[in-house]
């Protein structure tokens, strides 16, 4: 049947659907606008609004601080790249270690489990202090002075690997044992069956949660400033003392938001696509 010859029952149904959709869109727009207006009025009528406006949202300071903060952001980006690569590698090794079944390798499994418990429990800022001030404190010969951004990358890797290892482990365990059984029955060794059959499927499944952790890491690279690395946050801090104005912090904050938005949207898109694949045809 072509589209032009739909029955009157279907025609009535479609008209009703379109009118209902139009009405809900209109309601959404109205309530958003009303909410924004109320929030704005509440804010500008606070007693200190004009002072906050000059000390946090000053255009001249923003323009002058911009280049320095942007320089700092470049350091954050480099730390992000190195930390991401090392987290993925280290976390995957940790996850594989926790799935070992061979009794001879029990110590390795327990060590990995203990590591994950320890670093998931420790606040990142404590790990940063311990690594950032502890490792140089050892005065290891021939190592010289280690740059704070390198120490920061190490601390971020230690903490995030513990989280990401759990994500990988969940992915590995979500692959049905029959897949490994089939691989072994064809003569693949244990490690071949993990590498060629289990991991490729597990990694695909955990991409959305991994992206979530990546978004968190994007913000947390700003914490390396506590070790003295001149990144976007520390750069902003220097400008804040220079101009006696908080606007550079807002600039740094906006940079991090801009960095996060593409990843967040990509994560949403990927999750939606996977959900769609897994529940094809269902309406709700």
């Amino acid at each position: 049947m072509s589209q032009s010859e739909i029955s009157s029952a279907q025609h009535a149904r479609e008209t009703w659907r379109v009118s209902r959709k139009r009405r809900s869109t209109l309601t959404a727009i109205l309530s958003t606008v009303a909410f924004a207006v109320v929030a704005w009025l509440l804010l500008v009528n606070t007693p200190g609004w004009s002072r906050v406006q000059t000390s946090f949202f000053d255009w001249d300071t923003a323009v002058k601080a911009f280049p320095h903060v942007l320089d700092g952001l470049w350091l954050n980006l480099r730390v992000l790249v190195y930390a991401t690569i090392s987290v993925l590698i280290f976390a995957l090794l940790l996850a594989l270690a926790t799935t070992l079944r061979n009794p001879v390798l029990t110590p390795i499994r327990l060590l990995a489990k203990g590591y994950i418990d320890l670093f998931r429990g420790t606040p990142l800022i404590i790990t940063l202090y311990l690594v950032g001030f502890g490792i140089p404190g050892l005065r290891i010969e021939g190592l010289g002075r280690i740059a704070p951004e390198i120490l920061g990358t190490i601390a971020l890797t230690l903490t995030y690997s513990a989280y990401v290892a759990e994500v990988f482990r969940a992915g590995i365990e979500s692959i049905h044992p029959s897949q490994r059984l089939a691989a072994r029955s064809l003569g693949l060794s244990y490690s071949q069956s993990v590498r060629l059959v289990v991991l490729p499927q597990a990694i695909r499944k955990v991409v959305p949660p991994l992206m979530n952790d990546f978004v968190a890491l994007q913000k947390d690279v700003g914490l390396i400033s506590v070790l003295g690395a001149v990144d976007a946050v520390r750069g902003a801090q220097i400008e804040v003392s220079h101009f006696a104005n908080f606007t550079p912090y807002v600039i740094a904050g906006l940079f991090f938001v801009l960095l996060a938005i593409p990843t967040v949207r990509l994560t949403d898109w990927l999750s939606a696509r996977m959900a769609k694949r897994e529940q094809m045809g269902t309406l709700l």
């Binding site: 029959s178 059984l181 029955s185 064809l186």
Partner: protein
């Protein structure tokens, strides 16, 4: 039709026992399979058919007993179990195709990583088998895009492509509706005619009667009765067998 070679057994299993914790699933099963022979294992659910096949492929550890493949004991300590498994194909009720690989890659995987064949050679062998089951034009498809019958036929050729000495089929048609199981049974007939040695656990008694040379009735972990397929179905001797056949047919 190829003849059975009675000179020496392809597979010999003696006193196979398997316990899961304190539950005895196999209580001493003997099995002899000759090259070109088709042996059917029948019995109700939980009788130990699947466990027996898994023990023969060494994916399940034996609790007792010994197994020989072409006179070579494969149950001896320290044997390269991966190599043994590549010589004994095992196909499951639930197909278990690798979900992240196309059906061509499914068939190629073990050819490449276990038998160390080149990519070209593996592709040639795999495509040959897919062509034989009429799926060559779907070689690039992923398993979830195929029907159950197509998936199960792919799973069978994935095992057969390695040219195993013995093929174990574990209720390969139980998850399929009659029309689709027909396609799979057709492939098994085809394999029988080209001389493949097969041990199959099955609920398809009429199919067992048609293609099997020897039928074994497993009951609560022991062989209750066995015999030539024609005799077995025509005049069962054991009371349990009669009861089972009466219930199923």
């Amino acid at each position: 039709m190829t003849e059975i070679d009675w000179s020496k057994p392809r597979l010999l299993a003696k006193n196979i026992r398997k316990n899961f914790d304190d539950r005895q699933v196999l209580k001493g099963v003997d099995l002899e399979v000759y090259p070109g022979q088709i042996v059917a294992l029948i019995g109700s659910s939980g009788s130990g058919k699947s466990t027996m096949l898994r023990c023969l492929n060494l994916v399940e550890e034996l609790s007792d007993g010994q197994i020989w493949l072409d006179g070579d004991e494969i149950s001896r300590p320290g044997i390269d179990e991966d190599e043994v498994r590549s010589n004994i194909g095992l196909v499951f009720q639930s197909y278990n195709l690798f979900a992240h690989l196309s059906i061509l890659e499914n068939v190629k995987l073990a050819l490449k990583v276990v038998q160390k064949k080149s990519d070209d050679e593996a592709t040639k062998i795999a495509l040959g088998w897919l062509d034989r089951i009429g799926l060559a034009d779907k070689a690039g498809q992923y398993p979830d895009k195929l029907s159950g019958g197509q998936q199960q036929r792919t799973a069978i050729v994935r095992a057969v492509a390695l040219n195993p000495k013995l093929l174990l089929l574990d209720e390969v048609t139980s998850a399929l509706d009659p029309e689709l199981s027909g396609e799979v049974l057709e492939l098994i007939r085809d394999l029988k005619n080209s001389g493949t040695t097969i041990v199959m656990a099955t609920h398809e008694l009429s199919f067992a009667r048609e293609v099997a040379d020897w039928v074994i009735f497993l009951d609560q972990g022991v062989i209750a009765e066995e015999g030539e397929a024609a005799d077995f179905f025509a005049k069962p001797k054991n009371a349990r067998t009669k009861e089972f056949l009466a219930r199923v047919i």
